[in-house]
Amino acid sequence: MTLLAEQLLNGLQLGVMLFLMAAGLTLVFGIMGLINLAHGSFFMIGAFAAAWVGDRTGSFLLAVPAGLAAAAAAGIAVEMGVIRHLYARSHMDQVLATFGLIMFFDELMAILFGRTPLLASVPAVLRGSVDIVPGVPYPVFRLTIIVVGVVAAAALWWLIGHTRLGMLVRAGATNREMVRALGVNIALLYTAVFGLGAMLAGLAGLLTGPILSVQVGMGDSILITTFVVIVVGGVGSVRGALAGAMLVGMVDTLTRAYLPTLLQGLMHASTADQLAGGLSSMAIFILMAVVLLVRPRGLFPAHG
């Protein structure tokens, strides 16, 4: 029972991370109609910048804005340099060009920081653990991640639902041409949305850094999980991204935690471990297949 509470929180934490990734990616698709493979690179850049600044200054309070700024700056630069020319192109061209960008950023990080993983340290205040319910300790840093993620999600909800920028974003997602016809500076809006998405990815990266290792290619595996989230939730829908992220986060965490024990009841221990290892790494893809069978457009389709 105590383990379950802990695993549920772990699932929530992964879900929050995935939402930060998926929100930017799905907004960019919903508004600009662009598929961006290099979104994982912003995750990586955020993590690297924060780890490096944190290591140099010893201050987590400086590391956080550094990570956010680096990811947002990279996002804005990429949008103005490359992505801007891809909006009118086929998805295939977008995939290919952003695949090229991944190669560039992965290699750039390897040149700047080397191939050995960086250690991002947890700030002293957030070390240790607290009892979530009496007798169940849980690391403070992971709780912080959850809180930050929830705050970011709430801020995003406020931004989209209750500000002028958000109004333009929603209008853009519904009818791009109309927004342009009404005289909105669409180029500026696109750059802002893309930069915002990159910053959210950077936030996910810098928060994940201390839990996983900060290394080249760290954004690539989370990118593919994020795709699963988006497909499950419904492409282009932020609400869908939230639902998909939570579902994928929970399914991934819980199968990894409980499948070995469940299977051990049915078969030989070593076979069970191996099978459970394989099945739990495939669980989210199986989830995606089931969702596709029942609702081909995802749980919360964006339009209609």
């Binding site: 598929i35 086929s90 060009a97 090229g100 596709l292």
Partner: protein, 328 residues
Amino acid sequence: MVDTRRQAVVLLATLALLLALPTLATAMSMPYLVTLGSQVVIYAIAAASLDLLIGYAGLPSFGHAGFFGLGAYVVGIFAFHAADQSRFLGLVPGSTQAWIVWPAAIGVCAIASLAIGALSLRTAGVSFIMITLAFAQMLYFLFVSLKVYGGTDGMGFDSRNTLAGIDPGSDTQFYYVCVAALVLVVVVFRRLVRSRFGMVLEGLRQNERRMAAVGIASYRVRLVAFAIAGAGAGFAGALDANLLRYVSPDALHWTMSGDLLVMVVLGGVGSLYGAVYGAIAFVGLQSVLSQWTEHWMIVLGPILVAVVLVARRGLWGVLGGAGDGRQG
């Protein structure tokens, strides 16, 4: 206007060059060129099968490495069970005979792509890209978790599959087998896209609603195309495992799907011939750049971006003067 004579000349020259490669390699005392050539030819087969999807069926698949790697693993698993006299799942005995193993690889990949295609084709556009990517990654994780077959490290095996009259130890003879396979695949695919089936596929790419109105079951036609392309990639994968005498999950990794995509677009989408030039360019660039710097990807990445932004016709468009600028 397509200049067919110019195309024929370019194609014949390319074929002559491919056939002469082992002789040239010996003359220049660069024997490794034969292995590199086999790699190019094998990638060209996989890229041609991907072009069938992108260029003709209008299906932007980003999971083609899944079938490429699966085909490679069929060869590896047959070799594994042949070596220790065991049976796969307690049923299928191992084999090192090409006429058993290669068709098996093609068949397994056709079935796998039917299953994955049946699910993926329920969506279109950008979801299709993400879903094919995700399913290929699922296959990747499957083989990573199969410790029997080497897990992350993959597994090697002693010798190539035996084919009547071919010395499995000879790199040159194997190279010619690959070239023959490439010619076969391209000819079959060219006939396919010009057949009634190909016309329907082309029609669906241009206007699905109109095809539905004349009574075409779009889902089924696309599924068949997806399975054929998967089988083609599986064949290439089987040859690749034979070339390297080694299989690993790397062959299924999503970057492999990306590489295949790069070859298709570099060579020119929607011609099938382009795949050959794309594979030559990709492997060539990779080996030249990696001799020059360890960080060759920092050069190749921007080249890709530039190719997408500037050169839209692809190599075949430039060489053959075709290039109808068709996009997937």
